[in-house]
């Protein structure tokens, strides 16, 4: 396969580029140039500039002023920043495992032929295609403290209403529940695909050896799903750190800063307070955390070569 192409990496070229391959290379550059242009102008250039701007102080319309690491030392003393960071990490730490577990459970239930299976798969997946804004507005209504249907339902079964909007824990719970609603379907589909790839013979053979279904689940199903789980964990963490639309619409980071996340705080600073440099510094921190999280996850995944 083409992946095995030798890379011109060593000092002595391992392969001479003949005329035909020279032309092929030129064609290739032409074909990727529109993409590179867009990526260069609107991704790589802004990424580099983010680091530059994060060392400037820009407030309002005045000219930018060079402050070195000033924004970062201000960040360290900024309690709202720490709150946003803790919220982002906490949100990811709770939401991602729950979404993985729920997705796996639904996939296991819907893997076998049961009545209305296709309809149920569709229903579980539907929220994935809905915009975060619409989901946030809908959740705002469902979790309305006084007249929302969530508290009405709790009341019916004799549970005290939850302060979904006015308490820190309630607001975070409403964000996480809504995220689960949005994300479970995606995890389900990936797990269903992985389940279908487990060879039937594994189960037959182990059944002959007298394995119980719990043993089969632990020793066949779960290990066979490790690639899917690895992917979903990485993808889930990235998405969790990107969280913006839902929080912005549903809680605006409130009450107080109880649900402020790095994404919303960076936006507030850069575009509401108009402290562009400070907003960029938060963006840099978010970027570094994502890089770190990915490095750690890939290091874990390397233990199982098939996951890399």
């Amino acid at each position: 396969m083409a992946v095995t192409t030798t890379r011109p990496r060593s000092a002595v070229p391992r392969r001479r580029w003949g005329r035909a391959s020279h032309r092929q290379a030129l064609t290739a550059y032409a074909l990727i140039s529109p993409n590179l242009l867009v990526f260069g102008a609107f991704m790589f250039l802004p990424l580099i500039l983010t680091f530059v701007v994060s060392m400037q102080e820009t407030s309002g319309l005045g000219p930018a002023e060079w402050v070195g690491l000033g924004n970062y030392s201000e960040l360290i003393r900024d309690s709202v920043f720490w709150r946003a960071l803790a919220n982002t990490v906490g949100y990811a730490a709770i939401e991602v495992p729950l979404a993985l577990g729920a997705g796996l459970m639904v996939a296991l239930l819907l893997n076998r032929a049961i009545w209305m299976r296709n309809l149920m798969r569709t229903v579980y997946y539907l929220p994935v295609v809905i915009s975060g804004v619409a989901a946030g507005i809908l959740a705002g209504w469902i979790f309305s403290e006084n007249i929302g249907v969530a508290n009405k339902a709790l009341e019916l079964v004799g549970i005290a209403p939850v302060a979904w909007r006015s308490s820190a824990a309630g607001a975070m719970a409403s964000v996480i529940l809504t995220s689960l609603w949005i994300n479970v379907g995606f995890n389900m589909v990936v797990y269903l695909a992985a389940l279908q790839n487990i060879p039937r013979e594994y189960y037959d053979a182990s059944a002959v050896d007298g394995a119980t279904s719990v043993q089969q689940f632990r020793h066949i199903t779960l290990p066979s799903l490790s690639t899917a789980t690895g992917f979903l964990a990485i993808y889930g963490v990235i998405t969790a750190f990107h969280v913006f639309d839902l929080v912005f619409i549903l809680t605006s980071g409130g009450p107080g800063n109880a649900t402020e996340v790095l994404g919303t705080y960076a936006y507030d600073q850069a575009f509401d307070t108009r402290a562009r440099g400070y907003g960029a510094a938060i963006g840099v921190v978010l970027y570094l955390i994502l890089m770190l999280a990915l490095t750690v996850q890939f290091a874990f995944a390397r233990r199982h070569p098939e996951e890399a």
Binding site: A28, F39, T50, T122, I137, G140, A193, F248, Y267, G283
Partner: protein, 290 residues
């Protein structure tokens, strides 16, 4: 769970899919169905509220079934807000985004998958690595660049910076790698240029890929919020998500109006999903996640 019962279930032959926890089929169905009801309820509730009366809702006087259907809520959306304009903006931005993104991703994906050139690997890694970058990281300079180009409040300002989609290129490369090299080599020997090969041989084999790219790109552009929020400040230039946010700010407790607006905004996407469901799922599976 009784061990004996488990063993019996395990020994039972002729199942077609892996067996996991040994719950009875009825229990499994019931659990799945309860979950499905919970998942479906919010959307049902959106519909019921959109057709209800806000006065009743505010009084907390509502049931799970719709009362008198108030279709005028939908009329009110168009009367009070430039909703038609926002809808049109969303359509234009999503369609332009799809055409541009899918085109440049297909040709770049072909180059990365089937052509040899120095720097191929590192460029591909660089592109895929941008998947982890949320718009909040780069938005400050990105907005500056778009402002310098004079693209604030324009379709271009939303479409162009998002036109290169790393996920799309990744999908393309995964898919194209599955197309046999012999096929392409044979065409080369016959003297076909790369663009001809792409157009005449590769693309006709790539219909499922194109369907997936079109549907996913459309969904991403249709639902996108953070970037348009930054670029579009003038209410005439809003897309539906930005318009919904405006609606939410103006009528934050008029739930019937809010739900009517939200429903109108999500309906096209729900319809597309229901029609093209197969491709949504295929796309996920194809991206090498199996």
């Amino acid at each position: 769970m009784a061990v004996a019962a488990e063993k019996r279930a395990v020994a039972e032959p002729g199942r077609t899919s892996p067996r996991t926890f040994e719950l009875g089929p009825n229990v499994r169905w019931l659990l799945a169905a309860i979950g499905a009801l919970v998942m479906a309820f919010p959307l049902y509730w959106m519909l019921v509220t959109a057709l209800g009366s806000t006065a009743d809702l505010r009084a907390g006087d509502y049931g799970l079934l719709p009362g008198r259907l108030q279709w005028e809520n939908f009329q009110a959306i168009f009367d009070r807000l430039p909703f038609g304009r926002w809808f049109l903006n969303s359509v234009i931005i999503a369609v332009a985004g799809v055409v541009l993104t899918v085109t440049i991703n297909l040709i770049a994906g072909y180059a990365f998958a089937k052509l040899r050139f120095p720097g191929r690997r590192i460029l591909f890694i660089l592109i895929v690595s941008t998947l982890i970058i949320p718009v909040q990281v780069i938005m400050v300079p990105q907005f500056q660049i778009v402002a310098d180009l004079g693209w604030v409040n324009t379709y271009w300002g939303v479409v162009i910076p998002r036109a290169a989609e790393a996920f799309g290129i990744f999908f393309c490369v995964q898919f194209f790698r599955g197309i046999p090299d012999d096929l392409i080599e044979a065409a080369r020997i016959d003297g076909a240029g790369e663009l001809t090969i792409l157009r005449k041989i590769v693309l006709p084999l790539s219909k499922p890929l194109i369907a997936v790219l079109v549907i996913f790109t459309f969904m991403w552009r249709w639902n996108e919020f953070a970037w348009p929020l930054i670029v579009l400040n003038d209410s005439d230039s809003y897309t539906l998500p930005i318009g919904l946010r405006f609606l939410d700010g103006q009528y934050s407790t008029d739930y019937s109006l809010l739900m009517a607006g939200s429903l109108l905004a999500v309906l096209p996407m729900l319809a597309i999903f229901i029609f093209f469901q197969r491709y949504f799922v295929e796309g996920l599976v194809r991206s090498g996640l199996k």
